[in-house]
Symmetry: C2
Subunit: 362 residues, 2 copies
C-alpha cells in the first residue's frame, strides 16, 4: 500500500486514530510514524527536518502526521546521539539563601534563553555531598557545571573532584566562593573593594571605632572582605585593632557573642560580612537604646530582603547576583558550544555597589 493521494492519507490517519486509541497516549516515535506511513525511519527523520532529499509529497504527509500526533523528538535519544544534553548542572551550598537564588535566577534566565535546562543540587555546605552530587551529574547528565564551593570544601581545601571533572573535559565555572588552586573560569565580585569602600565611607562620616563582624577565614569571601577592611583602615592611618573584630565560628547566630561584644567594646560603626549578623546586631544595640545611625552606623554585605526591610534600612554592599549568574552561564555555554581545546580561563570580577539606606548617615 503506497500512499500518495491526500484521500488515502486522511483515511489512514482516521484509521490509525481509532486503532491506536488508549487511555494514555504514549509518546509517538519516528518508528511509529514510519511504520504507519509505510516509509523508512530515515525518511521520516529527514522529512521532519525539511530535508531537500525528500520529495514534497512525502514531506507534507509526514509533517501532517507528526503534527496530528503531536510528535516531539525524545530528548534523551538526542542527547545520547549528540553527546550533548543541553542541561547544565548547578551546585550551590544552600537554596534557601537570597544571594544564591539571585545568582540562580541569572543562570536560569540565560540558560533557558539558550535552550538549556538547569539541574540544581544542593551541597548543604558539605564536602561529601558536593562530591557525590558532582560525580552523579558528571556521568553524562550535564554539559557543564556552575558552582559555588561549599564551606566544607573550602575548609578541607580538597579540590580533586573538580579536577577530575575538568580533566574529563567538562567545563566548569565557579562563582562567588572560588579557590585559587582550581584551574577554571570564575566569576566573583570584588569583595575586598566592597569592604574597602564601606570602611572608607565610615571614616569619611567621622567614625573612629569601626568593627568588623565576620565568619572564619576559610570562607574565601570573608577573607577578602577582611582584607579590604584592613586596607581601608591602614590607608586612612587608623590602626588595625583585633579587639574590634567579632568572629562567628559558624553561620548560627549566637546572641551571647553579640551581647558580649557590644557590651565590652565601644564601637561607632559596624561592617558585617552578611545581613543576618548585621540585623541581629542592630536589634541588639537598638534594644540598648542606641540610635542608628547617629550613635552607631551599620553596613552589611549582600543586598538582600533583610537589608531592604529592616528599620532603619541597612546600607548594603550589593553583589549583583543575577548579573553574576548570567555571566557565569554565558561563559559556560560558550565553552560548551565551542569546545575549545586550549585551556585558557578567565576570571570576571564584578564591582560591588554601595546601596545607602538609613543605617548610615548621608
Amino acid at each position: 500500500m503506497c500512499l500518495n493521494s491526500t484521500k488515502a492519507f486522511v483515511f489512514l490517519v482516521v484509521y490509525s486514530l481509532e486503532k491506536k486509541y488508549s487511555p494514555l497516549k504514549r509518546k509517538i516515535t519516528l518508528k511509529h510514524i514510519a511504520r504507519e506511513l509505510g516509509v523508512s525511519i530515515s525518511t521520516v527523520s529527514k522529512a521532519l527536518k525539511n530535508s531537500e532529499e525528500i520529495g514534497s509529497d512525502t514531506k507534507e504527509k509526514v509533517q501532517a502526521f507528526a503534527k496530528l500526533y503531536n510528535y516531539k523528538p525524545n530528548n534523551i535519544a538526542i542527547s545520547l546521539k549528540n553527546k550533548r544534553t543541553k542541561n547544565i548542572g548547578v551546585i550551590i551550598p544552600d537554596i534557601v539563601h537570597h544571594f544564591f537564588t539571585t545568582v540562580f535566577r541569572g543562570i536560569e534566565k540565560y540558560a533557558n534563553a539558550k535552550g538549556y535546562n538547569v539541574i540544581v543540587c544542593v551541597s548543604d555546605e558539605s564536602f561529601d555531598k558536593e562530591v557525590i552530587n558532582m560525580e552523579l551529574l558528571a556521568n553524562g547528565s550535564i554539559d557543564g557545571f556552575i558552582m559555588a564551593l561549599s564551606s566544607g570544601t573550602q575548609l578541607k581545601n580538597d579540590y580533586n573532584h573538580l579536577k577530575e571533572v575538568t580533566e574529563q573535559g567538562i567545563p566548569l565555572v565557579l562563582f562567588d566562593r572560588v579557590a585559587d588552586d582550581i584551574q577554571c573560569d570564575k566569576v566573583i565580585i570584588n569583595d575586598k573593594k566592597g569592604a574597602y569602600d564601606a570602611v572608607t565611607k565610615f571614616i569619611k562620616d567621622g567614625r573612629k571605632r569601626i568593627a568588623l563582624i565576620t565568619s572564619e577565614d576559610y570562607i574565601s569571601v570573608s577573607r577578602e572582605r577582611a582584607a579590604g577592611y584592613r586596607e581601608a583602615l591602614s590607608d586612612n592611618g587608623i590602626e588595625y585593632n583585633e579587639d574590634l573584630i567579632l568572629k562567628f565560628p559558624s553561620m548560627e547566630i549566637n546572641e551571647n557573642l553579640i551581647e558580649d561584644f557590644f557590651e565590652r567594646k565601644k564601637v561607632d560603626a559596624v561592617l558585617s560580612v552578611n545581613e543576618i549578623f548585621a540585623i541581629h546586631s542592630m536589634r541588639y544595640v537598638q534594644s540598648k537604646g542606641l540610635k542608628i545611625p547617629e550613635d552607631i552606623s551599620f553596613i552589611g554585605f549582600t543586598d538582600g530582603l533583610l537589608s531592604k526591610y529592616a528599620s532603619p534600612g541597612l546600607t548594603a554592599i550589593a553583589q549583583h547576583g543575577e548579573q553574576m549568574g548570567e555571566i557565569a552561564a554565558e561563559i559556560l555555554i560558550d565553552k560548551v558550544e565551542n569546545d575549545i581545546e586550549e585551556e585558557t580561563y578567565v576570571t570576571r570580577v564584578l564591582e560591588p555597589t554601595l546601596i545607602e539606606r538609613g543605617s548610615t548617615v548621608n
Copy 2:
C-alpha cells in the same frame, strides 16, 4: 591473546595506560573495556553487576580494570534503555522567594536521598513560560513533575498543558498553588484554617476592626485565606466589612495604596496574605506613631525571613514548606516507581501553625 593470569593483566593495564594517555581522559565505556580485555560487551556489563553467569576470574579482571579507569555508566544511555531518567522536573513561579525555596529544599532532600536529580524551571508567573518549560521537559527529560501554578496560569484558568502531560502518563504533583480542575495529586496547606485561626486570635485579643490585605482572588491561596477570614468573623458575630479589605492588584508594592488605606480606615488588627504587604504596612503605621502591637496588631502569612527579623517580629502563619516539598516528592517518586495504572489521586492538606511574635499581644 587471552588473559587469565594476573601478570598478563597487569602488563595489559600498564600498556593501555601508556597507549591511551592524552591530556583529557574521556569517559571510558563498556566497549572500551571489552575491547581492551578481549571479551564481549555483555560480559563486561554482567561482570560489573557481579552476575553469576560470569566466571570469577573474568569478573575480577573486569572489575579491577573498571576501577582503575574509574568507569561509571553513562546516565543518558541508561535513561534511554530504561525509559527512566531519575530526574524530576520542578516548575515554580519564582526562585527568589523564601517559601518556594523552602519547598524546593524539601523536594531536593527527598529526591536526592532516593537517587533522583531535580531540574528546576522558573515560570516567572507567566502562563507561556510555564507551558514552554513543561513541554520541553516532558519530552523525555524527566520522570515526573512537581509544580506550583504561575499566577498567569491561574488567571487564564487554562490547564491543557497539565492535562496533556498527565495523559501521557507522566505523574504530576501540584503544591500550594493548585486548581480543582486538574486531576492529579496535590499537597497544600489549609490556608483557610490559617486565616481563620489568625482572625480568631485577633478577636480573642479584643480586636474589633480587623483588616485583610490581600491580592486578587484568582490566586487560589489568597481566595482560601479570604474565606477563612470571613468565616472567622462570621463565627464570632462580626459583620464582614468590605471597607476593611485592601486588595493589591499585583505583587508590586504600592505605597500610596497603603497610605490611603491606613489614613482612611481605622483598624486595630491586620491579617496579610504575605510578608511583604505586612512589613510595609507595619513600617507605615510605625512611621505614623502607632505602637505595634498595642495600637494595632499584625499577622502575616508565610513564616519567612522578614517575619523573623522585623521589629517587632511579625506573628506569622507557618506554611511548613520543607515538609510540603518532601511530601510532594514522596508522592511523586512513589508514583514514578510503581507506575500504577489506576488513576487515584490524593490531596494532602497540611495544618498551618501560628508562630507568635511581637506584632501581636500574648
